[in-house]
C-alpha cells in the first residue's frame, strides 16, 4: 500500500529550476497492477524513482506500508529497498560479472539468507520466467528479452511488497514485450504482487488494473475519467 501526498521534485539545472513533479497525490492498493502513462518528459520516471526510494523528493510525503519513507536516512533507505522493493529497469541493469543465477540470488544473499536457500529461490524464480536452463550462463550470452526476464526474476526473488518497472519493454519487440507483460500479470494474480509500471505503449493498458496519467508533473485527472476500455495490442508491427 503506497500513499503519496503532494509529491514534488525540482531539478536544478544551473540557475534554472525544472519542476519535474508539481504536487502529485495518489494511493496504490496492495496487489494492484498500476500503469503510469503520459507524454515524454511528463515526469513518469521521476515519479517512479521517488516512489522506489531511488531519489529524494523536494517536497511531499510517501508512505509505504505505513512507513514514512521520506524520513529515512540513506542506510535505512538502502535497507528498505532491499527488504521491501523490487526493480526492473529499461536497460535490464544486470551485473555482468555474475551468472544468471547469481544475478537473481544477490538480493537474497544480501538479506543474509543461507546461500543454498538463495540459490534455490533464484532457481525457482528463473524457472518461473522460463530460464530454468540458463542458470549458469553469463548475462552477455542472453538476448535482450531473456535478460529482462532475469531482471524480473531478480526483482521478485525476495517477494518484495512492491515491484517498480520503468518501461521494461522499451527495448523489446512485441513478442518479448508480451512475454514480459504476461509474466507481470501472472505474478500479480498468483502472488498478489503489487506492481507499478511506467509505459507509453497504449496496447499495454489492457494489462493494467488501473492507469495513472501524468502530464507536466501533475496527474491528468481528466484522462483518468475519460479513458475507457484500453485498446488491444498491435498486430505485427513493433513499438
Amino acid at each position: 500500500m503506497i500513499e503519496v501526498a503532494d509529491l514534488k521534485k525540482i531539478y536544478l539545472l544551473g540557475n534554472v529550476e525544472v519542476a519535474a513533479l508539481r504536487g502529485v497525490s495518489l494511493s496504490i492498493q496492495k496487489g494492484e497492477f498500476v500503469g503510469i502513462m503520459g507524454p515524454s518528459g511528463s515526469g513518469k520516471s521521476t515519479l517512479l524513482h521517488q516512489l522506489g526510494l531511488l531519489d529524494t523528493p523536494s517536497g511531499g510525503h510517501i508512505l509505504i506500508d505505513s512507513t514514512d519513507v521520506s524520513q529515512l536516512d540513506d542506510d535505512a533507505r538502502t535497507w528498505f529497498r532491499l527488504m521491501h522493493l523490487g526493480y526492473v529497469f529499461q536497460d535490464y541493469a544486470l551485473v555482468s560479472e555474475l551468472t544468471v543465477m547469481e544475478n537473481v540470488a544477490i538480493p537474497a544473499i544480501m538479506q543474509g539468507k543461507p546461500l543454498a536457500e538463495c540459490y534455490a529461490a533464484a532457481t525457482r524464480m528463473l524457472e518461473k520466467v522460463g530460464l530454468g536452463k540458463r542458470l549458469d550462463h553469463l548475462v552477455f550470452e542472453l538476448s535482450g528479452g531473456e535478460q529482462q526476464r532475469v531482471s524480473i526474476a531478480r526483482a521478485l526473488v525476495n517477494t518484495p511488497s512492491i515491484v517498480f518497472a520503468d518501461e521494461p519493454c522499451a527495448n523489446l519487440d512485441t513478442e518479448n514485450s508480451r512475454t514480459v507483460l504476461e509474466l507481470f500479470r501472472d505474478v500479480n494474480r498468483e502472488l498478489k504482487q503489487t506492481i507499478v509500471m511506467v509505459s507509453h505503449e497504449p496496447w499495454h493498458q489492457s494489462y493494467f488494473d488501473r492507469i495513472i496519467f501524468i502530464r507536466d508533473g501533475v496527474m491528468d485527472e481528466e484522462r483518468i475519467e475519460s479513458e475507457g476500455k484500453p485498446g488491444g495490442p498491435p498486430g505485427n508491427e513493433t513499438g
Binding site: 532491499l82 529497469f89 541493469a93 551485473v95 555482468s96 560479472e97 544477490i106 538480493p107 544473499i109 544480501m110
Partner: protein, 404 residues
Amino acid sequence: MENNGGYGVSLYLAVRAIRRGNRSTLTLTILIIALVMVLMNFLGMIISGVVTLYNDQMIDYQYGHVAIEPRDKEIVIADADALVKRLKQIPGITGVSAHTGTAATITNIKNGKLQSKSLTAFNPEDEQSVTKYQMVITDGDYLSKGDTGQILIGTLLAGNEDESQDKLPSLGGIKVGDRVEVAYSNGVVKTYRVKGIYESLGALIDSSAFVTRSEMDSIMHSGDTATEILVRGSSADDAPALKYTIMSYGVEEKVKTWNEKGKGIMGDAISSFTLIKNIMTFVSLIVASVVVFIVTYINIINRKKQIGILKAIGIRKQIIVGSYLIQVLFQCACGILVGILMLNAISFVLTVNKLRFPMGYITPAVDYSSLAVSIVLLCIVSLVSGYIPARQVVNEEILNAMRG
C-alpha cells in the same frame, strides 16, 4: 561460503569480479606491484650481501670473533703468551692468536718499487685456529712456526709487473721465491724470501704482509708482548657473550667484538646505502600507490553503472567498497608473491654469476625482515589508493551512477 549478508557479500562479489573481470589488466597490475616489490628490496638484498661478506671477512681475516687490545695508555699487551694460554682454557674459545704489528717499508729488490705497510707477526699454528690465511694461499706455502727470513704477502700488495692491472699500489709483480727488503721502524733493514702469496679477495686484507712472531722478535725485540690478540669462539652471533665471558675471567685488557671493531669503517658506507635504499623504497611506494589508484579508479569508473545497480537493489555502500578493497588486496597479495619469486630468482642468478665487490664476491641474500616491512607498506598504500576512488564513486547518487 556461509552467508550473513555482511562483508561475505563483498567477498562474493570480489571473487566473481576477479574471476570474470579483465585478465590483462589484472596481470599487468600484479606485475607492476611485483616490480615495485623488487625495487623496494633489491638494493637491500645487495646491501645485506655486502654486509654479510664484509662481516665474514672481518671475522675470518682481521679480528676473529673477539679482539683484545692493550689497556688504556699502553701500546702493547704485556705477558701476551701467558694471556694466550689463559684464554685458550676458557670454555667456548676455539682459537687464540697474538699479533704484533709494526710499520714497515717493503721494497721489491727486482724493480725497486716500495710500499709502506703495517707488517704483522703471528704464530702460524695459533693463527690457523683463528683466521683463514692458510686456506687462501694461491702460490707457495703458508708460514710455519720456526720460519725466519720468510714473508707472506697478499696478492694485491704483490701486484703485477704491468702496473695497469693493479687494483691498489703494489710492489709491481712479486712471485714466490722473490726477495724483498723490509725496513723496520727501528732502522733495521732485512731481506726476506717470499714464501707464499694469499688472496682473500678483500682489498684491505690482500695488501698486507706477515712474518712469524720469532722473526719479529729477532728484529724488534718485542719478546712476550703483542699489539692485539684475536679470539675465535663458536659463532659470530655469540661474540658479545664471549666478550663478557672473557671479561669475567679477569682479563683487564680492552675486549671488543668484531662488530664493535668493524662498525667505524663500514658503518658510514652502510648508513649511506641504507639512506639510498629508503629513498628507493619511498619512490617505489609512490609508484605503487599511483598505479593502484589509477587501476582501481579506471576499473571503478568503468563499473559506475554497475555500482549504481548494486546500490539500487539494496547493496550497502560499505559492502561495495569492501568488494573493491578485497580485489585490491588480492592484486597486492599476488604482486607480492610474484615479487618474492622474482627476488629469489634474481638472488639465484647473482649467486651463479657472482657480483665482485672490493671485499670480494657477494652472495645477495633476501632480507626477510625488510621484506616484511615492504609487504606491510605496500598493502597499506594499496588499500588507501583503492579506498579513495571506490569511496568516491560509491557515494554518487544512484540515478547518476546508473546513467553510467
